[in-house]
Symmetry: C2
Subunit: 636 residues, 2 copies
C-alpha cells in the first residue's frame, strides 16, 4: 500500500549541519545535559529514587493545599533520561549511559511486585496510590518515565528500562478503564497519552493506543472522576484549590471543547495527544476538535513570540486577547508543547499554517527558555521587563529545563517529513538525511544560513534517477519567494504553504529557494489591550526585542519607533557568535521637568534603536526589555 501521508523523519536519521541549531545542539550536548544531572543530584531528586527509609524531610514543603511539588520528581528524571538519550543518538557517551543505568537500577528496585512504580508513593505513602489523580501526577510521571525509556531504548538498544515501564503500563491498564472493577480515572496532568502513542509506534502493541484513547475520551465525563475521588478522600470537591476543572481541561469531554482553557502545558499535551490519536485512528471527529482548539489558540490566545498562557495564577489561559506583556507567564514548557502539537497537526494536514506556528515556537517562545551558555533557564517568558527578570540555574519545579533540552536535542526531527513519493522540508538551516522514495535511496542535503538568510540550496542525490515530489515550505512570513532547479527559475505556486517540485530527480540536481527576509513590522489585533499603539519587529521566523544593553541610557520603554522609520538588518559578528540585528532611527521620550504628570506631552529626541532576536534576551547584563515598542505616531 502506498503511503501518501507524510510522516516525520526521525531526528536520529537527520544530520544537523547548519550553524544555528548545530551551535544550540552542541551546547545542550556538552553543557546542558551534564549540568542537569548535577542539579538533579543536588536537588535530592536522584536520592529520592532510592526510597530511603525513613524518608528524609521534604525538600519542597507542602503548600497551603497540602501537597508538595516533590510528587513530580519522577517526571524530571524521566525527562532528563529522554533528553540525554536524544544526545546519545548524536554522540554515544559512556558516562551519561552509566548515569542512566544507575537510575534504572534504582527504578527497578523501587518498582512494586505488581508493576506499580512511583517513587513518591512507594517511598512515603504506599497506601495512597491512585487516590489523587487530580493533583498528584502519578500518570504524568508514568508518561515521562515511559518517554525516557523509549528514547533510551531507541538510542542504545538496551531494554531494561523499557521492560520496567511496559510492566508498569500493563499494571496501569489493569487499574484504569471501563471494565468491571476498573477505575474510570485519567491524569490530572495530561502526558501519558503521548507516551503511550510512542510506545504503540515502537512496539505495535495496539493495547497502548487503546489506553491512550481511553484516557482522552474518558476525560471530563460525568459523573466527574475528580469529584468522586475527592469525596472518597473525605474532601469537599467544591473546595478544589484550582476552583474549576477547566484548569485541567476536564470540565467537559475533550471532543466538546472549542476554547483552550486552564493550565497551558496540560492543554498543549492534551491537544498533542488528540492529534496523535486522530492520526493513528483516522478519527476525523477528534481531528475537528483539534482544529477548533487550534483556531482558538492562534486567533486569540497566543503571544507574538508563541508564548502561551498569560496568567501565573493558573499557569495558563484567561480569556481572548488578554495578552499582557510584563506579567506574561508564557511558560517555556507551553511553547515547547505547542511545537509538539503543531508538529502533530502538520501531519494531519500538510498545511504551512501549522509549520509557521511550530517554527515560531521553536525559534522564540521555546528557545528563549534556555540561556546562551546552556545552564540557565527561564520558566516564564515575559515580553517586557524592567530588568527584574533573571535566568535561574534551577527551579523548585524544574520541568522547563528538561523540556527545552529534549526539544533542542531532537530538533532535527521537526525538519523533514516523507511519504512514499515525496519529501517535505518544514524547516531550513542545514539538515541532511537519506530517504527511500519509490524504492530508491535518495540523499538530501539542505544547506543554508537560515534563519539569518533565506537563501536555501537542496542537493538531491538519488542512487538512481527517480520521480518524486520535493515539497518546500514557503513560510507565511515570506512574501517574496523564488525558486530554481539547477539554476533554472521555476514558477513557485505554493499550496497551503508548500511549493511542490515534481520531477525526475538525478544525481547532482540542486533545488534552490530564496526567501526574502526584510525586517517587518507587526501589529496586534486591536482587542489586544496591551499592544494598542505598539509595534513588534520580525525578520524571517525571528521575533525581535529591544534590550537596554543595546539601547543604553534609559529604560527601553522610553523608545518610540516612528511608523515611517526605515529598519535595517545588519550582520553583527561581535554578538553571540554572529546575529542579524535590526536597527532604526527612533525617538526617545525625554522627561521634562521631572514631574510625574504634566499637561505637556513628553519631548522626544532622535535616538538609534537596536533590536536583537527575542530568544537571546537576558544573556548579558540585566536591564529593561520590550518586544512591543511604542509607535511614535501615525501620520494620516
Amino acid at each position: 500500500m502506498s503511503r501518501r501521508r507524510y510522516c516525520p523523519a526521525s531526528f536520529a536519521d537527520v544530520k544537523l549541519t547548519g550553524p544555528f541549531w548545530r551551535e544550540r545542539l552542541d551546547v545542550v550536548l556538552s553543557r546542558t545535559i551534564p549540568s542537569q544531572h548535577v542539579k538533579l543530584d543536588e536537588a535530592g531528586i536522584l536520592e529520592s529514587l532510592k526510597l530511603p527509609q525513613p524518608p528524609p524531610p521534604l525538600t519542597i514543603p507542602r503548600n497551603a493545599h497540602g501537597f508538595t511539588m516533590q510528587v513530580f520528581w519522577d517526571s524530571d528524571v524521566g525527562k532528563w533520561i529522554e533528553a540525554a538519550s536524544y544526545t546519545l543518538s548524536h554522540r554515544r557517551d559512556a558516562d551519561i549511559e552509566a548515569q542512566i543505568d544507575a537510575i534504572v537500577d534504582d527504578l527497578a528496585k523501587a518498582q512494586s511486585s505488581d508493576g506499580y512504580l512511583n517513587c513518591w508513593y512507594n517511598g512515603r505513602e504506599p497506601d495512597k496510590r491512585w487516590t489523587n489523580l487530580r493533583d498528584n501526577h502519578e500518570l504524568y510521571n508514568a508518561g515521562h518515565l515511559l518517554e525516557g525509556a523509549i528514547a533510551y531504548f531507541r538510542a542504545t538498544g538496551r531494554r531494561r528500562f523499557l521492560d520496567i515501564m511496559e510492566r508498569y503500563v500493563d499494571h496501569i491498564a489493569v487499574i484504569f478503564g471501563t471494565g468491571p472493577g476498573q477505575k474510570r480515572g485519567y491524569p490530572g496532568h495530561q502526558e501519558i497519552e503521548l507516551a503511550l502513542v510512542k510506545l504503540y509506534r515502537l512496539t505495535g502493541d495496539r493495547r497502548r493506543l487503546d489506553l491512550a484513547a481511553y484516557f482522552i475520551d474518558e476525560r471530563g465525563r460525568q459523573p466527574h472522576y475528580f469529584t468522586e475521588e475527592a469525596r472518597a478522600r473525605g474532601e469537599d470537591p467544591a473546595a478544589y484549590w484550582a476552583g474549576t476543572y477547566e484548569y485541567s481541561q476536564s470540565h467537559i469531554p475533550v471532543r466538546e471543547q472549542t476554547k483552550m482553557v486552564g493550565h497551558a502545558v496540560r492543554g498543549m499535551y492534551m491537544a498533542s495527544a488528540m492529534a496523535d490519536l486522530a492520526f493513528e485512528l483516522g478519527d476525523d471527529d477528534l481531528k475537528r476538535a483539534c482544529e477548533a482548539l487550534w483556531r482558538d489558540v492562534t486567533t486569540a490566545q497566543i503571544y507574538v513570540t508563541a508564548g502561551l498562557g498569560p496568567s501565573e495564577s493558573n499557569e495558563g489561559f484567561t480569556e481572548p486577547y488578554d495578552l499582557p506583556n510584563e506579567t506574561a507567564y508564557a511558560e517555556t514548557c507551553a511553547s515547547v508543547a505547542l511545537a509538539f502539537w503543531a508538529h502533530r497537526m502538520l501531519h494531519l494536514d500538510l498545511d504551512g499554517a501549522y509549520a509557521d506556528v511550530m517554527e515560531l515556537a521553536l525559534y522564540n517562545g521555546a528557545l528563549s527558555g534556555l540561556s546562551r551558555e546552556g545552564t540557565h533557564y527561564f520558566y516564564a517568558n515575559p515580553l517586557e521587563s524592567r530588568g527584574q527578570h533573571k535566568r535561574w540555574a534551577w527551579h523548585a519545579c524544574p520541568c522547563c529545563t528538561m523540556n527545552v533540552s529534549r526539544l533542542v536535542a531532537s530538533i532535527a526531527g521537526y525538519a523533514i517529513s516523507t511519504s512514499d513519493d515525496g519529501v517535505a522540508f518544514h524547516l531550513y538551516g542545514g539538515f541532511e538525511t537519506m530517504v527511500a522514495l519509490d524504492g530508491v535511496r535518495v540523499a538530501l542535503r539542505e544547506a543554508s544560513r537560515y534563519p539569518w538568510s533565506g537563501d536555501i540550496a537542496i542537493e538531491v542525490d538519488p542512487q538512481a534517477p527517480v520521480t518524486f515530489d520535493l515539497k518546500l515550505r514557503v513560510p507565511g512570513w515570506a512574501k517574496d519567494a523564488t525558486a530554481a532547479v539547477n539554476g533554472e527559475p521555476i514558477s513557485l505556486t505554493p499550496e497551503r504553504g508548500y511549493a511542490t517540485i515534481h520531477r525526475r530527480w538525478s544525481k547532482g540536481d540542486v533545488a534552490t529557494l530564496r526567501l526574502a527576509m526584510p525586517p517587518e513590522r507587526l501589529y496586534a489585533h486591536p482587542s489586544v489591550r496591551a499592544d494598542v499603539g505598539r509595534v513588534a519587529l520580525r525578520r524571517g521566523p525571528l521575533i525581535y526585542c529591544v534590550e537596554e544593553v543595546d539601547n543604553p541610557g534609559a529604560p527601553v520603554q522610553t523608545l518610540t519607533l516612528p511608523r515611517d522609520a526605515e529598519i535595517d538588518a545588519t550582520w553583527r559578528d561581535d554578538l553571540f557568535g554572529g546575529v542579524v540585528a535590526l536597527t532604526a532611527s527612533a525617538k526617545r521620550l525625554v522627561p521634562g521637568g521631572g514631574a510625574l504628570y504634566s499637561s505637556a506631552p513628553p519631548a522626544t529626541r532622535e535616538a538609534p534603536l537596536t533590536a536583537l532576536p527575542y530568544h537571546l534576551w537576558a544573556n548579558r547584563e540585566p536591564g529593561s526589555m520590550q518586544v512591543w515598542i511604542a509607535e511614535a505616531g501615525e501620520r494620516e
Copy 2:
C-alpha cells in the same frame, strides 16, 4: 500668644451646603452607616465582642502563615463607631447611638482588669497577648478603638467608651517604652500613633503624645524588635512571610527613611503620625523626613488618581514609576490615608501642593472606593478594567468600607483652616463656618457648584468690621484664575498655591474666585512604562475615565484620542443626578481580517468618546474601563 499657624476647623463646625459633598454625605448618613452595622453583625464581628465561651469556629480561616484576618476585627468596630459618630455630629440618631452603646457594653465586659482590651486575645488566646506585634495588630486595633471613642465622645459627650480606652492606653504605656522592664515594641501596622495624638489634643495629656513619639522613634531600631519577638515565639525570624521589614516600614528608623516602601496604608498612617508629631513637637528633623517621603511618593509612586501601591502581593509600593493600570492595587484605604497625610503636611506648611494632592485623593482614589448608592465598595482601584472588576457588598477584610465612610462623614474638616488672623480655604463646594478672628466672630459662607464649576463666592459676615487674611487656594491645575471683592477685580498673586486677600472685612463683603476649568490632557513621565503613548483627561480636580457603558460597541481599549481633538465639557443631567461629561471626536481601532497579528496596522474609524469622572466608574452595567487612553498619534 498669637497663633500664626493654621489649624483645621473641625468638621463639626463646618456646614456642608454644596451639592457634591452634601449628596455623598447624605448617602453615608442614610445608607452606608446603617448597612455597615448590618454587615458587622452578619459577619460575626459584633458577636466576637461578646467573648463567647468556648469561642465559635473561625469565620476567617488561618492562612498558610498561621494567622487569621479575624485578629483585626476590633479595628473594624472602632472604625465603624468613628464613622457613625461623625454622622451624629451632622444629625443625632438614637438608633445608632444605642448600637454604639451596646458595643461599648461588650467592650467594657471584654476589658481585662489591668486595662488590656483585645477581643481576639481575650476571647481565644489570653496567654499570648503582646507576643506578635509584627502580624497580629493589637496596637492597630487599640488605635482604631481609641479613635472611635474620641469621635463618640466629641459627638455625644458620653465618656464611657473614652474612659475604657484611656484605661487601655494607660496599660499600653506601662507595657511599652524604654524604661526598665518595658517592652521596646511598636505596632506592626501603624495607626495607634494617630489616635494618641488625637487623644492628646482632646485631653492635653502630654503622656499620650510622648507614647506616640516613642512608637514612631523606636520603629526600625536595632536590635530589631520583630526579630527578637519572633525568636521568643520559637520562630525563625528569617522565615518572616513578608520577607522584609520594609513591608511595615520598620527596616530602618523612620527619620532615616527617604523612600516610601512596603504596605501602602501602613506607610501613609506612619507618615501622617510623623507629620502630627512634627507639628506638635516642632520637630524640624521629623518634618524633613516627612518632606523626603512626600517627594518620593509624589514624584515617582502615585497614580494620577492618587491611588497608591501598585502591587497586590504586599498591598503596597514596588519601585519608582512602576504604575501598571489594570493590575493597580491602589487600595481605597491608602488614598484615604494619603488625604490624612496631605492634610497634616498642609498644616506644617500652608503649601497648595499638599492641598492639591489631598483634593486629588478625596475626589478620585478615595471616593472611587464607595459606590453611588453607598453600600458597595472597591478595595482595589485599578485604572483599567476589561470588565472583571465588580464592587462588593462586603469583604473578608472590610477595612476600606469604614475608611471611606469616616472620610466622607468628616469631609468638611478638610475644607477650612484658621489662624489668629486669617482663614484659609483649601476646598470649595459649599462650606459654611463661623470663626473668631482677632476676637471678632466672622461667619463665612462659601457657595459654589465645585467641582463642576470653578465659580466660587465667599460671603464674609463679621459681627464687626475686622482685618484678616482671607487665603484662597488656587489649585495647581488652575492655570487661569481671577478674583474680585465686591465685584471689583483684584490682582491675584498666589504664593505657594494660596492667594491672600488682606483687608478690613465688613458685613456683606463678598470675595469671588473664578477658576477656569477647561478639560485638560495629562501625560505621564516617560519612565512610567504603562502610560507611554497614552493620555489622561482631567477637569478641575476630577480625573476622568472612559467606560464601555458610555462608549459601547467594543472594549474602550480600542479608543484612541488624537492629540489635536477638541475636548468638550458637557453638563449631563441624566447621569448620576448631574455630572460634567467630557466628549471628543476620537477614533476606534478596527479589526482587519481577524488575524491576531498582521503586518498592516489596524484601521481606524471616527468614533465619539465620552469620559466621566473616575470616581463614578463601575456603578452601572459592567464593562471595560480605562483612565489612560491611547493617543492616536503625534503629528510633528
